[in-house]
């Protein structure tokens, strides 16, 4: 899916050329053509504590089926790697390195599954934790994930994926208290 954006590596699927209303199943099947790939991102975090959004830039990497990496490069270096059941959080400058088990933190796991599920087109896993709503057409769509579980709901109120055709172009995460972050896919940084 990310590949679709990075220079159109994934060929456009002619089956979905028409502009009919999109169902979640179709979309996820299309998105599931992911393979090992990487893409740059720019993310803006808005918080009620801040006067201006925090902007970070970095690289996203995905190795199906379960390794997902977010490597922030600017304005500081930070890395989160999700691999199977573990999530590793690193800040090299401060010498901080936490390893958490997703089994121990079920809300975190559900949060991570949103991303992994979309990337691999795993509708069943997504449906277990979220209610899916798809809007738009094949050419330009958005998919909302709202958590079922109130415990997860404390973390996120909504995760919204934007995309065109087979690829995701942006992700927005909204928290209950109004804070949100908006991530946009970009070219790889040099």
């Amino acid at each position: 899916m990310i590949g679709a954006l990075a220079g159109g590596m994934c060929g456009a699927n002619p089956v979905f050329a028409s502009e009919h209303a999109l169902a979640a199943e179709e979309l996820l099947i299309a998105l599931s053509k992911g393979r090992e790939t990487e893409v740059g991102f720019e993310e803006a975090s808005f918080s009620k504590l801040l006067t201006a959004p925090l902007v970070t830039r970095g690289v996203l990497r995905f190795s199906p089926p379960s390794r997902l990496e977010r490597h922030t490069l600017a304005p500081y270096e930070e890395r989160q790697v999700v691999d199977g059941d573990r999530i590793i959080h690193e800040r090299p400058a401060e010498g901080v390195r936490h390893v958490l088990s997703l089994t121990d933190h079920p809300e975190l796991r559900a949060f991570v599954e949103a991303f992994r599920g979309v990337l691999t087109g795993d509708l069943a896993t997504l449906r277990r934790s979220y209610e899916l709503t798809v809007e738009g057409t094949r050419r330009e769509w958005s998919m909302d994930l709202r958590p079922h579980d109130p415990a997860l709901g404390q973390l996120v109120a909504l995760i919204r994926f934007y995309g065109e055709n087979d690829g995701v172009t942006g992700i927005e995460v909204r928290a209950v208290d109004g804070d949100r972050s908006v991530m946009v896919m970009k070219e790889m940084p040099q």
Partner: protein, 775 residues
């Protein structure tokens, strides 16, 4: 005459019935097993042992829900926890879903600047504040923001997070779906601390039954298995097992004995009469112990009744003497001197138990002495009046006596057997004693293993290794604990322990709290430095006002005391770790995962802290048992001397005394070797049964060596002895088949011991002219 007899029988029967009712109604039977155990060692050890028996660790119930579907288990765990909270039988209950209640969080949050373990002199320096604020910005930008950003406004330096990390065990149980699970996710785990004390088996069994019932209602589909473990569970199961076994075996044994007596003498009336002394003895003994000790322990009662097996012999002596011609009172008067000597020496033997400091054994000794003396008195004075005139047992068993005489001709068999026994014991290095108290436990190994598994999974402390620190005040003991913390950390780092717990972790000493308070800057200084740290960062103005206000408040807060934590789970935890008695304070630090307790003890000694001591409870308990065994052996030796003296006074000749004492000694040696050969290791219970064997042996030996007036009389008496031995073997043989180590010990010892006593006494007895008997 018949009327008189019927009247007397009725009187006797009603007196016994009344006595039984009175005993049952007025003497409280307690089932607190810990009262049986000795209090030993020095004052600290006794205090700690007491705490461990009655304190939180003994009240802790480990609960596991076993099943295949973790989601269902998690749900049932939550429902069970709600029941546990509502039922009010638990002081504390947790399943991992909320480590701290809301009010606890608020209280700890308010005191975070005095409780935080990382707060130091430069926490509020400009540079540190700036670094903290930058880190908080990064938290906000991170995908984990929602989890990290709470209370940034009031606690930007993250003191509360550090505090929480310290309080919740870092190697705590696995959490899944919001509740505690075993690592393989097959068991959901819960912890409960009961209001009832750990070793109060009655109260605990009520709690456990209620829990099981509640769970049956929760788990309607019966797919989940409820497992309970912990010291309280063991004591209830032990009691139930012991009760069930004693009932079952008691019934079997009683039936066998009644049948045997009937078969031996062919008279039902004799069987009924022989029950009278032992019943009277039991009633008087119970009442006596109740009077002196204010109650009787259930285990003592059960044990005591078995020791009264020696009383069974007395009526049989009388009843087997009856020949229909002589008056019963004359019969008893004839054999009374021998019987009296037997009773006195047996009572002296049991008195060895009376003088130990072992509460359980003292009660038992008193019970046995009262029972034996009463039984003999009843046989002497009451029983003859209850015998119908002209009554005589129909079977006389002279054939058996002739057989016995034939066996007894092989005089040298006993010395040879004794030599062989001594050889066996010598070869084994005289290692006959059971030193491990765990061998006495009626809890099967399987269950002990399961308990350890659950304990490891829950991170609950073992009920075993503890470091105790003593001081004159709560403050002093907390300070001393804090001072020891670096040393304990080094032990963990060197893998001699996996963890430890101390009250000072939750409630620092006031000195430490004030010291931290001293690091808090004044309002102007903080405002200035904080402004500097904020420069250039995109925080809205006024966001951190709660932080500035909190620091200002914290500068004037009084230190957190125990009272402020009342009613919280943390308060309960502190109570179990900080004890006070008569002005002295004790801090307990339970250790987890101690593999080599000797090494840890050496380490603690090397610290050279006079107030700190290391206690390994299993070692202490074993040590206490060994020292009591030694003391009891000493007392038994004294008892033997006393017995010898009394015998000398009674028999008036050293040779006669030897003829009584040597068979008993031989029998004991043979018994020890036999038990050892059967793989039994001797424990205190075996020792108590040895006293029973001594009592029986005295009875047999004295009667075997008595000068009989006629051969017929000798025949009757010897037949009576065989019947006595038979009943003893039947009763204790039944016990020997029990699954419980304690009952098996008593049963084997008494059954084998009484047989060998009889044979030794028979073989080594004075030679009578047996010619007349053969004709």
């Amino acid at each position: 005459m018949i009327g008189q007899l019927a009247g007397r029988s009725l009187l006797c029967g009603s007196v016994i019935a009344l006595g039984l009712w009175f005993a049952v109604a007025t003497v409280p039977v307690d089932t607190d097993l810990s009262r049986l155990l000795p209090e030993g060692g020095d004052a600290t050890q006794r205090w700690v042992l007491d705490q461990l028996r009655r304190g939180s660790t003994a009240r802790l119930l480990l609960i596991a829900l076993e099943g295949r579907d973790p989601e269902r288990l998690a749900e049932q765990s939550g429902t069970l926890l709600r029941w546990m909270h509502e039922s009010r039988v638990f002081r504390y209950a947790a399943n991992g879903s909320e480590l701290l209640s809301q009010s606890e969080r608020e209280r700890l949050f308010r005191y975070r600047y005095m409780l935080s373990p990382v707060l130091g002199p430069d926490t509020f320096s400009r540079e540190h504040l700036r670094a903290a604020l930058e880190a908080r910005l990064q938290d906000l930008a991170s995908p984990l923001a929602a989890a990290l950003k709470s209370s940034i406004d009031a606690d930007p330096t993250g003191e509360f997070r550090s505090l929480l990390a310290r309080i919740t065990p870092w190697r705590g149980p696995t959490r899944h779906l919001g509740v505690w699970f075993s690592p393989d996710l097959k068991r959901a785990l819960l912890l409960g601390e009961t209001q009832a004390q750990g070793f109060d088996a009655d109260a605990q069994s009520v709690v456990q039954a209620a829990l099981r019932q509640a769970f049956e209602r929760i788990d309607a589909t019966r797919t989940t298995r409820l497992v309970l473990s912990g010291p309280a569970v063991f004591s209830v199961e032990a009691r139930e097992t012991i009760q069930a076994e004693v009932w079952r075996l008691g019934l079997v044994a009683t039936a066998m004995v009644l049948f045997f007596l009937y078969a031996s003498y062919g008279s039902a009336r004799l069987v009924a009469l022989s029950a009278v002394p032992i019943l009277c003895g039991a009633v008087v003994a119970t009442l006596g112990v109740g009077l002196v000790y204010g109650g009787i322990n259930g285990i003592t009662l059960a044990f005591g009744i078995t020791l009264l097996g020696v009383v069974n012999d007395y009526p049989i002596h009388l009843l087997s003497q009856l020949d229909g011609r002589t008056a019963p009172s004359a019969c008893i008067a004839a054999i009374w001197p021998t019987m009296c000597l037997a009773v006195l020496t047996t009572a002296l033997g049991f008195s060895a138990m009376l003088f130990t400091g072992f509460p359980g054994l003292s009660q038992l000794g008193l019970f046995a002495i009262l029972g034996v003396v009463t039984g003999a008195a009843v046989t002497r004075f009451c029983l003859p009046r209850l015998v119908p005139p002209g009554f005589a047992p129909t079977r006389l068993g002279f054939r058996l006596v002739r057989l016995l005489d034939a066996v007894a001709r092989a005089r040298s068999i006993v010395p040879l057997a004794v030599l062989a026994a001594l050889l066996v014991l010598w070869r084994s290095g005289w290692a006959v004693w059971a030193d491990d108290i765990a061998d006495l436990s009626p809890v099967p190994r399987e269950q002990q293993r399961l308990d350890q598994e659950l304990r490891d999974a829950l991170g609950a402390p073992d009920v075993r290794a503890v470091i105790a620190v003593e001081a004159a005040s709560r403050e002093a003991v907390l300070s001393s604990s804090e001072a020891l913390e670096p040393r304990l950390e080094s032990l963990v780092a060197r893998e001699m322990l996996t963890g430890y717990e101390m009250a000072a972790r939750y409630l620092p000493s006031q000195a430490t709290q004030r010291r931290r308070q001293g690091f808090l800057p004044g309002a102007e200084t903080l405002a200035r430095d904080f402004q500097w740290a904020l420069a250039g960062l995109p925080f809205k103005p006024g966001v951190f006002d709660p932080f500035l206000a909190a620091v200002a408040e914290a500068r004037t807060l009084p230190p957190l005391g125990r009272e402020a934590l009342s009613g919280t789970a943390i308060g309960l935890r502190i109570d179990s770790l900080l004890l006070e008695r008569g002005g002295r304070w004790l801090a307990l630090m339970p250790l987890r995962g101690v593999r080599d307790s000797a090494r840890v003890r050496a380490e603690v000694t090397s610290w050279q802290e006079p107030a700190a001591s290391f206690l390994d409870l299993k070692d202490e308990s074993n040590h206490i048992v060994v020292s009591f065994r030694d003391e009891m052996l000493r007392l038994v030796a004294l008892g033997v001397l006393a017995i010898g003296s009394v015998l000398f006074i009674g028999l008036r000749s050293v040779r006669a005394v030897l003829r009584v004492v040597v068979p008993i000694a031989s029998a004991l040696v043979l018994l020890t070797a036999l038990l050892h050969a059967m793989g039994e290791q001797l424990s205190l219970f075996h020792l108590a049964s040895f006293l029973l064997v001594v009592g029986l042996g005295l009875d047999y030996a004295l009667f075997f060596n008595r000068r009989h007036s006629t051969l017929e009389e000798r025949g009757r008496i010897l037949y009576g002895l065989c019947v006595c031995c038979g009943t003893t073997v039947l009763v204790f043989g039944a016990l020997a088949f029990s699954a419980l180590p304690v009952l098996r010990a008593i049963g084997l010892t008494a059954a084998l011991g009484s047989t060998s006593s009889l044979l030794c006494a028979a073989v080594l007895a004075r030679r009578n002219d047996a010619a007349g008997l053969l004709s």
